[in-house]
Structure formats: C-alpha cells, structure tokens
C-alpha cells in the first residue's frame, strides 16, 4: 500500500480526475469550440492578418495543446508529491 490511508487513496484519485477534466474542458473549448463550432462567429474578429476562428483552427489550438500538457505534468507531479506517491 503506497498511500498512508484509504481516504488518501480516494482523495488522490479525485484530485487527479478533477485536474484532467478541467484541462480537457480547455482542450475542448480551444479546438472543437473556437476552431469548429463557433468558428463563424469568431471569424468576424480580425486578429493581425487572420480571422480569429481560422487562426484558432490552424495555429492557436495547437499552441494551447502544448501548454496544456506541460501544465498537467507540473500539477500532477505536485499532487504526487503531496500524497507521497511520487517516484524517487
């Protein structure tokens, strides 16, 4: 048993799931939301030489994806440490 108590185990998994769900919500909004579902609305906004929706679909969402993974790694490592289940 890696966790100190059974409650810790449950709490760890709950923290994990809530982090993943939050990040996936952002993932969905920037790609499927801004790039596909609301692309026509956002295209009315000019962003440098781009229409904003088009920019999200072909550039912006990809940058966000990279950021999301590194945020996940950083936060998840902190959660592991907090519950004492990280690797030495």
């Amino acid at each position: 048993m890696a966790f100190k108590t059974e409650e810790d185990k449950v709490a760890y998994w709950k923290d994990n799931i809530s982090l993943v769900l939050k990040l996936l919500a952002v993932w969905f909004v920037v790609s499927f939301g801004c790039g596909i579902l609301f692309v026509d609305v956002l295209n009315n906004i000019q962003f440098f030489g781009f229409k904003l929706g088009f920019w999200f679909a072909q550039q912006g969402a990809i940058y966000m994806f990279v950021v999301l993974i590194f945020v996940y790694v950083y936060k998840m490592n902190a959660i592991d440490k907090h519950y004492g289940v990280d690797e030495e």
């Binding site: 890696a2 966790f3 185990k9 760890y12 998994w13 994990n16 993943v20 990040l23 996936l24 993932w27 790609s31 499927f32 790039g35 596909i36 579902l37 692309v39 295209n43 962003f47 440098f48 030489g49 781009f50 229409k51 088009f54 920019w55 679909a57 072909q58 550039q59 969402a61 990809i62 940058y63 994806f65 990279v66 999301l68 993974i69 590194f70 996940y72 790694v73 998840m76 490592n77 592991d80 519950y83 004492g84 289940v85 990280d86 690797e87």
Partner: protein, 568 residues
C-alpha cells in the same frame, strides 16, 4: 552542381548517420529490442516519438492537402496534434506504470482474456499494415523524382535501409536513429519555409508571416489576398470551409482519438524510466510535432499564392507554356502535373471552374515548393532527405509493432509459451523481415490512395483500442466480456462503413448517403461511441471484473513503484 548529385550526397550522408547509429545501439536482449531497456531520456524520447509520428503523410502530403482545402485542412492539424493531449492526460502515465511491452499485453492482462489479447493483436497488425504501406510509397516517390530512378527501384532501396536498422537495432537502435531523423526532417521542413516566408512577407517565422502583410509593398494581408484570388478563380474562400460542421467535428475527433489509440505511438511511452518521464515525454513530443504542424498551414498558404501566381501570372491572364518555369516541366515527367490547352491560346491557366487547364497533384506541393519559389538546389536536396527521414522513421516504428505483436503477443503469450528469449528475438526479426517484404509489395502496388488507407487506420484505432484502454484505466469494474464485445462492435461497424463507401460502392460516397452526414473519414468517432455503449450494456448484463483485476487497476493509478517494463 546539379540537383541529382546534391540529393545523392545529402540523402546518402543522412543514411550513413542512421546506419552508424543503428550499429552503435545494437540490441542485445528482447528488452532492448522491444523497449530500449526502458532507459531513454524524455527529451530524446519526445523527439523519437515526434519522428515516429510524423510520417510521409505529414511531411510530404499535409501542407499540400491544406493548400487545396483551406480552412478544412484544420481537421488534420487539430486531429493529429490534439490526440496527444488525450494521450498525455489519459493514457501514457498509466500504461507506463502498468509496465508491459505492448498494447495487446495491456488489453490481454487487464481483461484477463486470451480472446481480448488476440482481438487486440489482430487490430494492431491491421492498423500498422495499412499505415506502413503508404510510407514505402512515400520513399518511392521521393527517390523516383530526385534520383530519376523508377518507383520500384525507389521502394526497394527504402526496404533495404529499413530492414537493416529495424532488424538489427530493435527499439534501442530505432529510438536513437529517430532522434537523428527528427533533426533532419524538421531542419528540411523549416529551411524552405523560412526562406519563402522572408521572400513573401519579410517575416523570419512562417507562423507570423502567415498573418502578415505581403512584402511587395501593397500592404495587403497574405490571407486577404489568398481569399480574393480564390474567389476570383472560382474556388471557395480560403479561410472558409466546404465540409459540414458536424462532419468536420467527427473527422477531427476520429483523428484525435485514433492518434491516442495508435499502437506504435503508445508503445513509445514504455521506453522511459519513470511515470513522470512518460508525462514529460508526451509534452516534448507534442512540442516537437507542433513546430512542424504550425509551419505547415503557413507553408500551405505561401505555396498556394506562389503556385497561382507562377501559373496564371501576376495579372491573372495566364503564362505562356513555352515560358513555363522548370518545376512544371520536371513534374510533368512524373505525371503529377498536366496541362491541356482548352482555349488554344498557348497559355496555362489554373482555376476552380471551366477556365481551368491545369491538373496539379496535391502530394507534390511540399517537394515542389522550393523549386516554385526559386530556392537554391541544396534546399531542394534537403527536402528530399527530410521526406525520406519522415517515411523511414515511421515505417521502422510500425514494423517494430508488427514484429513484437507477432513474436511476443501471438507466439510467446498465445501459441508457443515455452520459447526462449533468443528464439523470441529471432521470431521478432523474422516477422519484421516478412512485414517489410509485404509492405514493399503494397508500396509498389498501392491499394488506392494513400490518404484513404491512412484514414482507415485511424478509424480502426479510434473504434477499437481507445475505448478499451480508457475503460481499462478509469472504469475498474469493466469486465472481459464487455471489452471484447465493445471492441468487436466498434471495429466491425467502422470497417464495414469504410469498406462499403471506399471500396465496394465508391459511387455512393456522397453526403446524402452518409449516416448522420458523417464521411468515412470521420466514422471512427461513431464507432468509438458504439464501442463504449456496447461495452457498458454487456458489462451490465454480466459480472463485474474480479477483485484482483480491480486491485491491478488501482495500482496503475499512481506512479510510485513503477519498475522497468517487463515481459512477465
């Protein structure tokens, strides 16, 4: 020096590098062969994953496709990068903690069932084969154009090289070779893109040049000009799409989920020492991939403007065929560009309506781009080397999955449990050799378009592996019967839909006939939902997974205690 000699030198030098690395990192044990002994640094692993992932399709075809599709090209850009977020957040760390070699290993153990393992093996082999055939074709196209040999010779040269380092090196050799291949391919992709961006917009970064004004002093934005040109020539506006929104949604989702379910990508996360490294690896991999994927749409728009202007002239009145630039003549020989003088004025004209006199194959855009922009010969040779690197690295990764699936999952875990380590390694190499020959055959005689075959691979991966793995981790009570039924229902539905519209009755492949107006490219998304639903219903009707399996699932949910990946 002419292009042929330069290509020979640059591609030859890159080959020497790969082969040298393969010899240096030769595999000594099954552990080295399958997962590189679990000792690869996350940044190196990220680069290798990126090279593994970016195939001839990404390098050679994708920018060309986007250049003809405009906004709709986003399905590839979002689909082939967004899947890494799913992979990093939902799969990679847990599979690493689980600590086995292959995806069928996970499915077989988690669902305590040889049937599940066998279904997974068959899916894995099928997915990888459809994918690898296209890569061999890609190598053939590059060689036949730049070395002026026929396509059969081109494919055979590619087969020999892949054979050499996959069979000798195994995963350890491949990982370090792929690091070198990533460097070659990204350099080869960026150099022409940066050159062209500077020429057209004055921006060094293609990503910002994409949204900048043209350098010709007109003060017009590049995309504005492209939209204007497209409308004038009878095409759709470049920045708007033609596909239905729900279809775009489904194709993107299928490609994303397919990415996260592809066995040759997943296996990458077994090669790092720790769970923490598996998480970092996915991040680095996506960063390295994003460099190419954010350049591609810029390149696509530059290439489009350049191509239209060289064919139609800056005044949009057409260019005399007798004065056609050399790239048109060069590619005419390969049959990938053709001109038919419909109005008899001796001028070439490219348009989206009845004025059109040109046929331009999408796949040549990246390879022809440096020629169209009049870049020096060494840049053209470099692009050839990059294309070959992309195709070889992906083929090697896929072949490795095929060989481990056969030797490890099928023979060792299923048919011949008593074979020794040495024998297993021998069968792995034999399987790789046989797979290369079959892939080579399909490279020479491709079954339809490469893109069709690739879409097939993604749909199948999305509808089979992804739900089984997700439920395996996040739903600990899911049982063997549910998982097997789900996989069979998902992959069966998807395969039938694709085979019907792509091979049996291609004439019916129009939006009116599609289910919920989803094209065969996007149907993997529906197949995935079917998989989840069937699995849940069957689970409800049968017993939940046994206690020790639920314990196993709880164990993979936290990092502590992850050892090296092991066979048993």
């Amino acid at each position: 020096m002419d292009i042929k000699i330069l290509t020979f030198i640059i591609v030859g030098a890159s080959f020497l590098l790969y082969i040298g690395i393969a010899i240096w990192a030769r595999a000594g044990s099954t552990n080295d062969f399958y997962v590189a002994g679990g000792g690869v640094h996350p940044i190196a692993n990220g680069m290798a994953t990126a090279a593994d992932w970016m195939s001839a399709a990404s390098f050679i075809s994708m920018a060309g496709l986007i250049s003809f599709m405009g906004y709709d090209g986003a399905v590839y850009l979002l689909g082939w990068t967004g899947g890494y977020v799913l992979l990093a957040l939902c799969l990679a760390p847990y599979l690493r903690k689980f600590g086995k070699f292959t995806v069928p290993d996970f499915i077989g153990d988690r669902y305590y069932s040889q049937t599940a393992r066998t279904v997974a093996v068959v899916c894995a082999i099928f997915v990888c084969f459809t994918y690898v055939a296209g890569q061999m074709r890609g190598v053939g196209v590059v060689f036949s154009r730049f070395l002026e040999v026929d396509i059969v010779t081109g494919v055979v040269i590619g087969m020999a090289i892949v054979f050499f380092y996959t069979v000798l090196g195994g995963m350890k050799g491949i990982t370090y070779t792929q690091v070198a291949q990533y460097c070659v391919l990204i350099f080869a992709y960026l150099v022409p893109a940066v050159f062209i961006s500077i020429l057209m917009t004055g921006h060094v970064l293609p990503q910002t040049g994409f949204g900048a004004t043209l350098a010709d002093g007109s003060g017009i934005y590049l995309l504005e000009k492209l939209d204007g040109l497209s409308l004038e020539l009878g095409f759709n506006e470049y920045t708007s799409g033609t596909k239905g929104m729900f279809d775009v949604f489904c194709i993107t989702a299928a490609l994303m989920v397919g990415t996260a379910g592809l066995p040759h990508v997943i296996v990458r996360f077994f090669t790092v020492p720790k769970v923490r490294d598996a998480r970092y690896s996915a991040g680095w991999a996506l960063l390295f991939i994003a460099i190419l994927y954010t350049t591609a749409p810029s390149l696509a728009s530059f290439a489009r403007v350049n191509m239209i202007e060289t064919i139609n002239g800056t005044e949009q009145t057409g260019t005399n065929y007798s004065e056609a630039p050399s790239w048109i003549k060069n590619w005419e020989k390969t049959g990938l560009i053709s001109w038919e003088d419909k109005n008899g004025d001796g001028k070439m004209f490219y348009a989206g309506d009845e004025r059109n006199e040109m046929k331009v194959d999408r796949d040549i855009m990246v390879l022809a781009n440096p020629e169209i922009a009049n870049l020096p010969a060494w840049v053209i040779a470099l692009v050839a080397a990059g294309g070959v690197a992309a195709a070889l690295s992906t083929s090697a990764g896929l072949l490795l999955v095929i060989s481990t699936s056969v030797s490890h999952d099928l023979l060792k875990r299923n048919l011949m449990p008593n074979i020794t380590d040495r024998q297993e390694l021998f069968y792995a190499r034999l399987a790789a050799a046989v797979a290369i020959c079959i892939a080579g055959y399909f490279g020479i005689n491709p079954p339809g378009f490469v893109a069709q075959v690739v879409a097939f691979a993604f749909g199948l991966a999305a509808s089979s592996f992804f739900p089984a793995i997700i439920m395996g981790i996040f739903f600990k009570k899911m049982n063997n019967k549910g998982a097997v039924a789900g996989m069979l229902a998902g992959i069966g539905f998807t395969a039938v839909y694709i085979i019907y519209f792509k091979f049996v009755n291609p004439a019916a492949n129009v939006p009116e006939n599609w289910l919920f107006s989803v094209s065969p490219e996007g149907i993997g998304t529906i197949g995935m939902l079917i998989n989840f639903i069937v699995a849940y219903v069957v689970y409800k009707m049968t017993n939940e997974a046994p206690e020790e399996i639920q314990q196993l699932v709880e164990d993979i949910r936290y990092p502590k205690g992850a050892g090296e990946a092991t066979a048993h």
